[in-house]
């Protein structure tokens, strides 16, 4: 039941049957079946309604690939993208229209899916054999999808030169091949005010001379001692999701010299996540909370703009609000170098071609188009996302050499490292997050990291190190 674009339409009848066939499989994935019998009556009603809604939604999503009009002799390619806000969706649609107008062989038919159930939709579509041709994938999931056989390598379909221009952190690798490439990325930074640093008699760090760990600690202690700030630093620990904790705090672990996993073998976290460097990192992190330098849970996300915190560690997406608040006083700074260089997380949503796509060359042409400097620059200026090519940054208003967001491009270009490309990433992220949250709350650092390593290593061992997989 592979969608064949030449026919120009989906067989909705079969699509419905497909959904019905996968429903029992989908059901446990929604986490409902397994907990059904222990839910209360109201919860059951709620869950049932929710499941119904998801199935209906899936049905419309899968059935909606009927493009309607017969488009002459063009070949239609269905594209799936996560809903990511009005600007980004509008800009993506505009660029798809440009691509459709520019050539006469392919016609991209975009569909935007809610980000909440995006993963499940992909899995369901794959089981039902109704995968779209082109899809956006969150970068940590690339390895998982590649291993599961949902997506195929880009080489041969996207020009080598185009891929080479893309910043390495925005390229999704697995098993030595490129499976996805992002049109934009994000960058983490420390935000503060010039006046605060002057008051604390601290120098302004630069890309070439970032703060050392000691300098950063001195600053935090001085801020605390000043009595102005109850908790000088906001680390965003209010968000307890594994995606944030991994994205935000594994780069700091790397800067200390540790890592989430041994990246040479990719089969064990032993030594990397519980070694001497990781212990130093864990002790430092624990002390931040014990000394009252960071609040374990800020009541809201506005600690910096309300003047409760002097420094905040977050990403480029917060810059517009902070500029409004601090104006020219705002400083965007590289995170400290804790001994092994400055590290920030790399990899946002990326474009990939499904294995089921019967015209990968068309999908490749589209992705190639999206990665050209002009498109990259237009996307970044429209959304504030960090461009991934030098040319794109130069052509951009905000990220050009004199643009006011240039710092984020430089940070990304110089310091971003992708999260480990392993199909076990969801376990890695969850184990790390639980360990870090326990450390924050005072658990023995070595015990916490040992637990995480055992979780990760057991999962990898259960899967025979992912040697057998769907990848070619």
């Amino acid at each position: 039941m592979i969608f064949s674009p030449e026919e120009g339409e989906c067989e909705t009848g079969r699509g419905g049957a497909g959904v019905l066939a996968i429903m029992p499989v989908m059901y446990p994935e929604m986490g409902q079946t397994l907990i059904w019998h222990s839910l209360s009556l109201t919860q059951r009603a709620r869950a049932r309604r929710w499941a119904m809604a998801s199935v209906l939604l899936l049905y419309t999503a899968l059935a909606a690939c009927d493009p309607g009009t017969k488009p002459g002799d063009r070949i239609e390619l269905v594209l799936w993208k996560n809903q990511a806000g009005r600007e980004e969706d509008a800009q993506t649609t505009a660029q798809i229209d440009q691509f459709n107008a520019k050539q006469s062989r392919w016609r991209i038919v975009p569909q935007f899916l809610p980000q909440g159930g995006y993963d499940q939709s992909i899995v369901a579509a794959s089981l039902a054999g109704r995968m779209p041709c082109i899809l956006a994938v969150d970068s940590p999931m690339v390895a998982s999808y590649a291993w599961a056989g949902h997506i195929r390598p880009l080489d041969g379909y996207v020009a080598t030169g185009t891929l080479a221009a893309v910043s390495p952190s925005a390229v999704g690798h697995y098993a030595g091949r490129i499976y996805a490439a992002g049109q934009f990325d994000a960058a983490l930074a420390i935000f503060t005010r010039r006046s605060i640093l002057a008051q604390m008699r601290m120098r302004i760090p630069t890309l070439d001379h970032p703060w050392s760990g000691e300098e950063f600690q001195t600053l935090l202690e001085r801020l605390k001692a000043s009595g102005i700030y109850r908790y000088p630093l906001d680390l965003g620990t209010r968000d307890d999701k594994a995606s944030w904790w991994t994205y935000a705090f594994s780069p700091i672990l790397q800067s200390f010299g540790g890592d989430l996993i041994d990246r040479r073998s990719m089969t064990s976290a032993q030594g990397a996540l519980n070694g001497e460097a990781a212990q130093r990192f864990g002790n430092w992190f624990q002390a931040l909370f014990a000394k009252g330098l960071v609040n374990r849970q800020e009541p809201d996300e506005n600690a910096f703009v309300r003047g409760r915190a002097a420094l905040v560690y977050t990403g480029d997406w917060a810059a517009p609000a902070y500029r409004t608040y601090a104006g020219a006083d705002l400083l965007v700074l590289p995170p400290p170098d804790f001994g092994h260089g400055v590290v920030i997380g790399g990899g946002s949503w990326q474009w990939a071609i499904s294995k089921a796509c019967s015209h990968p060359e068309g999908a490749g042409a589209f992705i190639d188009f999206m990665l050209q400097d002009r498109q990259v620059a237009a996307m970044s200026d429209a959304t504030g996302n960090v461009p991934v090519t030098e040319g794109g940054a130069s052509a951009s208003r905000d990220f050009g050499p004199r643009g006011n967001s240039r710092m984020f491009f430089d940070l990304m270009r110089r310091f971003a490292r992708p999260r480990p490309a392993t199909p076990a990433f969801s376990v890695v992220a969850n184990a790390y997050t639980f360990a870090m949250r326990d450390i924050m709350d005072g658990k023995d650092v070595q015990d916490a990291f040992d637990d995480a390593v055992d979780d990760i290593d057991q999962t990898i061992a259960d899967h025979h190190a992912y040697r057998t997989g769907g990848h070619p």
Binding site: G31, W36, R230, Q297, D438, G442, D447, D454
Partner: protein, 350 residues
């Protein structure tokens, strides 16, 4: 003849839609979950699950004890022990085990080990939650029902007010209460501080393992009590007014009327409310997921939270299913025991 046959089929006919629904959405998925527990099925995987026997159950339920003699007494005389986690990661006999808790027997230290201490802790947390929330919530509900039934002016408005938290989304209620519980800026601590003239120091409600669960109990009872109130109210109104009138003529006090008329008259209703509340309490998930994420240090993690964490977030659906099946069996045993006890006590009374 025809009429009799149709009468026999009518219940089946009318029941069929519900039965088919139940079979398709409850029984079948449960059986599938049962099958999953013997495999290593993942959510996203190119390979079908492989039969692994009882591995999931073994990883979930294995328990053993580790007895350690003190290694050496230093000058001060405090005994020191080898680090448990180092032992369990390297000694083949203890491989895969993690400490759950420890006891001292004279010089010796006994550490209880489990392969999944998080699950056992979560199980304890869940029952602790039920143990705290059921009496609190039901007493609150009974109090509210009596208040609303007392014949005060505007009781319909009060009924609506007390019931309103029930119709609010639990996620929203949780987010709002997380603000109320905030250590430095939360309303609750500010009120406590003001009322005690600063004697009560700010409590880190959700950040302290000792107070996190009680905080969730208070919030859950507040949110849910309105529902039980409605059921109890119906029970209250089912008691004949003549009984109260007769008691009043006999000179019974208000307390005696409550104890000898209201409570016995509501026996069945109260039992029903207790069961419904307990079942709801054992499914605790949303509040924990929104307010604490299972923390601090696992003190609010519940069985449902563990099932979703392993089954969905870590994509190990087989293990998540195992947690659910074990939990289902535990609850079934619990309900059966409850039924037996209830029947026995009913016999004693009659």
């Amino acid at each position: 003849m025809n009429a009799r046959r149709s009468r026999r089929f009518q219940p089946l006919l009318f029941g069929a839609p519900a039965m088919v629904g139940l079979a398709l959405f409850v029984v079948l998925p449960f059986l599938m979950a049962l099958v999953l527990t013997f495999t290593d099925q993942q959510l996203i995987s190119p390979e079908p699950g492989v039969f692994v026997g009882l591995r999931n159950y073994e990883r979930l339920l294995s328990i053993r004890a580790l007895v350690q003699a003190p290694e050496r007494n230093d000058v001060a005389g405090t005994p020191s022990f080898a680090r448990v986690r180092s032992l369990t990661r390297h000694e083949p006999a203890y491989l895969g085990y993690r400490p759950l808790g420890e006891l001292r027997f004279g010089e010796h230290r006994v550490t209880l080990l489990a392969k999944d201490p998080a699950f056992l802790t979560a199980l304890g947390n869940t029952f602790l939650f039920a143990l705290m929330v059921v009496p609190l919530q039901c007493t609150m509900a009974l109090g509210l029902a009596l208040l609303v039934n007392a014949g005060v002016k505007g009781q319909t408005i009060f009924r609506a007010i007390y019931f309103s938290p029930v119709v609010m989304s639990m996620v929203i209620v949780s987010v709002v209460w997380a603000f109320l519980f905030d250590k430095d800026l939360g309303l609750l601590n500010q009120a406590l501080g003001t009322l005690s003239f600063g004697l009560v120091k700010p409590v880190d409600w959700l950040g302290n393992p000792a107070t996190a669960m009680p905080a969730i109990v208070i919030m859950s009872a507040w949110q849910g009590a309105g529902f039980q109130m409605l059921i109890l109210l119906a029970g209250l109104q089912g008691i004949s007014q003549e009984l109260y009138d007769a008691a009043r003529i006999d000179g019974a006090s208000m307390w005696q009327r409550f104890w000898y008329i209201t409570l016995p008259g509501m026996r069945q209703t109260i039992i029903f409310v207790l069961i419904v509340t307990t079942i709801a309490a054992l499914g605790l998930f949303t509040q924990v997921d929104v307010m604490t994420g299972g923390g601090p240090r696992g003190s609010t993690a519940t069985v449902m939270f563990e099932a979703v964490r392993h089954g969905v977030r870590e994509e190990n659906i087989a293990y998540g299913a195992t947690i659910s099946v074990v939990y289902f069996l535990l609850i079934t045993a619990f309900i059966l025991l409850h039924q037996i006890l209830l029947r026995r006590s009913a016999k004693v009374i009659s």
